[in-house]
Symmetry: C2
DNA sequence: TTTATATTGTGAATAATATCACATAATAAA
DNA sequence: TTTATTATGTGATATTATTCACAATATAAA
């Protein structure tokens, strides 16, 4: 199972949810390919990998397809995460509407200063000392690291100690830890630099 | 020139800047490989692609290497971007310290409601009507789209009309436009879903 | 000096990913 | 019914990215 097809699976899901909301019943690999800007063979190859089958000449029934994809993505129950660090990014995440709609819930937040406000009365802020215990007690599997880079590795070590299973990291450093714990990095500076580099390269062509 | 090596170039830059700050003078491809969690051949292949050469048995002089990389990344002058949309994410970006340190400047912000405050007196907010004119007058090349998904394509069209050269898009939709304008998507829901999927896959192994 | 050693730079091999080509089957038309 | 058409599903192929293998060479040691 490769990473890229999982990412696409999540995109198929979005497209399918929109189509469903619009009242569509069937969809062809060609439609999904258009929506994602890829080839239809890629769509079918992806489905093939995940043992998703459609109907020869009939395409796919959106409801069935969506259900299968949601199961593969583990979207059968609420996906709870903890947020570590209530700075600019942490606060933005706390107010971001996109998560709730997709069944992702920020269960609670942690900060060295637990007096920081989340601005949401349904999400409590706990001091860092309670991070490990909370994760273990509540069986949280995924954490978001939104602390300054200097603190990120320390937080990651705590999370590992607590038995976390996956991490989304906003700090611009590579977190070191066991191979089998997936860490996804979001680095905004890097993305913008990357963009400028492409823009400059285009100019010289 | 492939996208992945440019991303790595940006990471090499960070590592080199840290090493320089620590007083180091030389670096080996092996050191950089360790820092990024890749192989040293990859590092050398990347450099080779960008015509960066070192010294047989002597590694690379950090100052020289850094200078070359900064030039390739177009970091010889301030990289100005405009921000479109002052919601949660937009506001987080406005307050994010990471940009300034890396020579990236949010030049100005745009929103349908120009009364929105940036919280920074050095960054003005303009109404959406002025977006196209401003970009043209100020020769802005890169824009950040941080508006709701429903408005994203419309904003992108305006940016294209203004002659934008690259876009960082936070809206969870695929923006349609000419092939040659690079669009980088940051989709937080997708990243978290992806993570959960990996976590679940690991459990079944 | 000569020899040993460490590191770069790169063509070739391998691995990962995407696309093509086409057999297969379901539906619609004749 | 039979034939034509339209999608799927997948083995084969092409493309892209990474790693290997090793020649070239600079430095240090003998």
């Amino acid at each position: 199972m490769n990473r890229r097809s999982i990412i696409r699976l999540s995109k198929y899901k979005n497209t399918l949810q929109r189509l469903k909301a619009m009242g569509f019943v069937k969809v062809f690999s060609d439609n999904l390919a258009d929506a994602l800007g890829i080839r239809s063979t890629q769509v079918r190859k992806d489905f093939s990998q995940f043992k998703i089958t459609g109907n020869k000449r009939g395409g796919y029934i959106i409801d069935e397809l969506l259900e299968k994809i949601l199961r593969i993505l583990g979207k059968t129950s609420i996906q709870r995460v903890v947020l570590v660090g209530i700075g600019n990014i942490g606060r933005a995440l706390l107010h971001y509407k996109g998560f709730e709609n997709e069944g992702i819930e920020i269960d609670s937040a942690f900060d060295i200063n637990p007096d920081k406000q989340t601005g949401r009365d349904d999400i409590s802020v706990y001091p860092m000392e309670q991070l490990v215990g909370y994760i273990q007690k509540e069986k949280i599997e995924v954490a978001v690291i939104a602390v300054p880079d200097i603190a990120a590795q320390r937080v990651f070590d705590l999370l590992l100690q607590a038995g976390i299973k996956g991490v989304l990291n906003f700090a611009p450093i590579r977190l070191r830890g066991p191979e089998q714990i997936p860490v996804t990095n979001v680095n905004l500076v890097l993305e913008i630099e990357n963009l400028f580099c492409f823009v400059n390269a285009k100019k010289e062509e």
